[in-house]
């Protein structure tokens, strides 16, 4: 929050709370506590061989830009305009119709006009116009241009790390401009000057070193999985196998690292293991491809490629036939939209076929990678698993479409199909807040940090507001989702805006409802709490 105090002379004159009217180009950016992310640690940036590494924080006055910083930006932009036709198109085609203006969750929650996607993009476009178009070169500001200054760089940093790359705005753009890709490009340019944020750079460095964002080494990964096997046995009375680095397994399962380390992700992880055991799937985890998430996506396309590479490399090394990817958001944006062209073709893998139902996942023909919700929904559709939804009777459920799986890959029906088969109480949020129009959690794309909490609360308000509606109308007490960042950042969001609503993985509900061979009385759920509907089943 800004630390502003009213001076006595202002008090005597009368205070004006009306916001001053100024052209957006003349409103200076103030680095405010609660709204910025800390700069990258030099050790992490060094590990990734990033340029212009320095000890730096955005709240400092001097950002220690290299002497030729302007040249770096212009050259970087020129290179990207040439390399990515989409960027060139997005720079030229916008007619500033304003259809996107009020669709961004940060704008809706803050009222800051520079959070309107059109104006956020204009921060780059104005510089582009001044330096890359004839009209802009001649007419400058009159043609909507703007000189590139150090303050503009600061403004870029402030606002392009206030975009979660959720792409809600692009759903409403008549030209299909993907503002997320503009954000990606500006972040690439900022990184050329050494202006990365730590919550992206350090996880990326960890991932490059150990295969996962947390820096967990193979023995640590094994410990975590073994621990989960014990936990599951304690809850269900069934001892499962959880193979790691098993050569010749049919399927490689890749999960986000938060699944085996964070709450409430972990209960979903228990759910996957219970499910795979029950259907007898021949699978393996990899201690090296121990992260589906890819913070490289929030840094640069090269970094994304670098971190993604391990998935196919491990699939090849282990000799699996195809891959299942677990519940994660941006992991799926990378896998679905970029992996095949970045690190494919995966011609050493087979077109995925479920060994249980025989279903051919033709949609995954290119990547050879199937979403776990597609896999589970198919099992349910073919009656291959026995589910008792009353075990989730303690939950009154709604579903948050994670931006990347909903808008990025169109996974809309499968999660809902699973939920309707695993719980008895399910209520949708209002239609302009779900499916393609879903509101972001406000913390995606690497900005889910403590230091950025106020901004996250603003950005997450539209989502929380819809959750509050179903809480009041239907008594909803559980928000399910299939994204690791959602699972980490929605709990604090709801704690602030909608206390009383918890967050869970869809496969946590699957794990609860799954009737397993040789199971105990299942009196407790995967969280270790009393299982819902227990009284009903005892009466039978």
């Amino acid at each position: 929050m800004a630390e502003k105090l009213i001076k006595p002379e202002d008090l005597a004159r009368g205070i004006s709370y009306k916001h001053p009217e100024k052209d957006w180009r003349d409103v200076p950016t103030e680095m405010k506590k609660g709204c910025i992310n800390y700069g990258a640690l030099p050790a992490s940036a060094d590990y990734l061989d990033l340029p212009n590494v320095k000890k730096w924080q955005p709240m400092h006055d001097d950002w220690q830009l290299p002497e030729n910083w302007k040249e770096i930006i212009f050259e970087g932009l020129k290179e990207r305009l040439k390399k990515f036709r989409s960027l060139q198109l997005f720079m030229d085609v916008c007619v500033r119709c304003g259809a996107c203006a009020d669709k961004c969750h940060f704008y809706i929650g803050s009222g800051d006009p520079k959070n309107m996607p059109v104006l956020r993009a204009e921060l780059l476009r104005a510089v582009y116009r001044s330096n890359f178009t004839l009209a802009g070169k001649i007419l400058g500001r009159m043609a909507g241009g703007r000189e590139l200054t150090k303050d503009v760089i600061k403004e870029w940093f402030f606002y392009f790390y206030q975009c979660t790359e959720c792409r809600r705005c692009s759903v409403f753009c008549p030209y299909g401009i993907d503002t997320a890709e503009i954000t990606m490009m500006v972040r690439e340019l900022l990184n050329l000057l050494g202006l990365g944020i730590d919550w992206i750079t350090t996880p990326a460095a960890n991932c490059f070193r150990t295969g996962n964002h947390l820096g967990i080494q193979p023995h640590g990964f094994k410990d975590s999985v073994d621990f989960a096997v014990d936990d599951l046995e304690e809850n269900c009375g069934v001892r499962v196998e959880a193979p790691i680095n098993k050569k010749g397994a049919e399927v490689l399962v890749v999960v986000p690292s938060a699944d085996y380390f964070g709450d409430p992700h972990y209960y979903g992880f228990l759910g996957y293991m219970a499910l795979f055991h029950e259907i007898g799937l021949d699978y393996t985890f990899s201690a090296f491809a121990s992260e589906g998430g890819n913070f490289g996506l929030f840094h640069s396309n090269e970094m994304m490629k670098r971190l993604n590479n391990k998935i196919y490399a491990e699939a090849k090394r282990l000799g699996v036939k195809w891959i299942i990817g677990a519940e994660c958001g941006h992991m799926w944006r990378v896998l679905h939209q970029y992996m095949d062209t970045m690190n494919g073709p995966a011609d050493f893998l087979e077109e995925p076929v479920s060994p249980i139902t025989g279903t051919k996942f033709e949609n995954a023909k290119a990547t050879k990678m199937v979403h776990i919700c597609e896999f589970t929904a198919d099992l349910i559709k073919h009656n291959k698993i026995k589910l008792d939804p009353s075990r989730n009777n303690h939950w009154n459920v709604t579903y948050h479409d994670s931006c990347n799986t909903a808008r990025g890959m169109g996974l809309l029906e499968e999660p809902r199909y699973i939920l309707k088969n695993t719980c008895n109480k399910f209520h949708e949020m209002p239609e302009n807040t779900i499916r393609e129009q879903t509101f972001c959690c406000g913390s995606g794309s690497g900005i889910g940090t403590d230091e950025n909490l106020e901004m996250r609360m603003r950005g997450g308000f539209p989502r929380a507001n819809a959750v509050k509606y179903v809480q009041e109308k239907h008594g909803v007490n559980l928000l399910t989702c299939i994204c690791a960042i959602d699972k980490a950042t929605l709990p604090p969001l709801l704690q602030y805006w909608v206390p009383g609503v918890e967050v869970a993985a869809i496969h946590e509900l699957v794990g609860n409802a799954l009737v397993m061979t040789g199971e105990n009385d299942r009196s407790i759920d995967l969280r270790g709490d009393k299982m819902g509907g227990k009284e009903d089943t005892e009466d039978v």
């Binding site: 105090l5 709370y17 809706i108 800051d112 106020e454 507001n465 602030y496």
Partner: protein, 166 residues
């Protein structure tokens, strides 16, 4: 007498109050907050409109402290995470005085009405004090969340998962 005047001019006073509140945001956003009527597309503006109505009705009605505190809490939850200092965040309470003075105009020349207005303005001041409390409660919740998040993260990186019985 003042009560019936305010009931008659409820819409005008409320619109004025809302407009003064929304004008604390950048001019480009005033129209959006005021005119987008879908509560899910414009949760900030719609919440303000609804809760200011509750506050005004309560104030000229039975002045139920619980209702007033609840409405203030809802508005201040939003203002507490936006780009305002504490005084800026709750200043909107006092905008109601301006709204009433401007909308009632000549009717305030009647000394009887004026006397009643002074008493109502004291109630608005009281509401301002409750607003500070609710603002602080929200800031406290925010800090509590930050603290728990930090604690959870330290445990997360420090020792990994712990058994519930250990």
């Amino acid at each position: 007498m003042l009560t019936s005047l305010l009931q008659k001019k409820r819409t005008e006073v409320l619109d004025k109050w809302l407009s003064l509140l929304v004008n604390t945001y950048p001019p480009e956003s005033v129209n959006f907050f005021l005119n987008k009527k879908n509560q899910f597309a414009n949760p900030v503006g719609c919440t303000f409109a609804k809760e200011l109505g509750i506050l005004l009705d309560s104030l000229i009605g039975d002045q139920n402290a619980e209702v007033i505190s609840g409405a203030l809490h809802t508005i201040n939850k939003i203002r507490a995470v936006q780009d305002f200092s504490a005084s800026e965040a709750v200043a909107y309470i006092f905008f109601l005085k301006t709204a009433i003075r401007e909308e009632l105009g000549d009717e305030l020349k009647d000394t009887k009405v004026l006397k009643e207005l002074l008493s109502l303005e004291s109630a608005i001041d009281g509401m301002g004090l409750i607003a500070f409390d609710t603002y602080m409660q929200n800031r406290e919740t925010l800090n509590q969340i930050k603290f728990s998040d930090f604690k959870r993260r330290s445990e997360f990186f420090g020792g990994g998962r712990k058994r519930s019985d250990s």
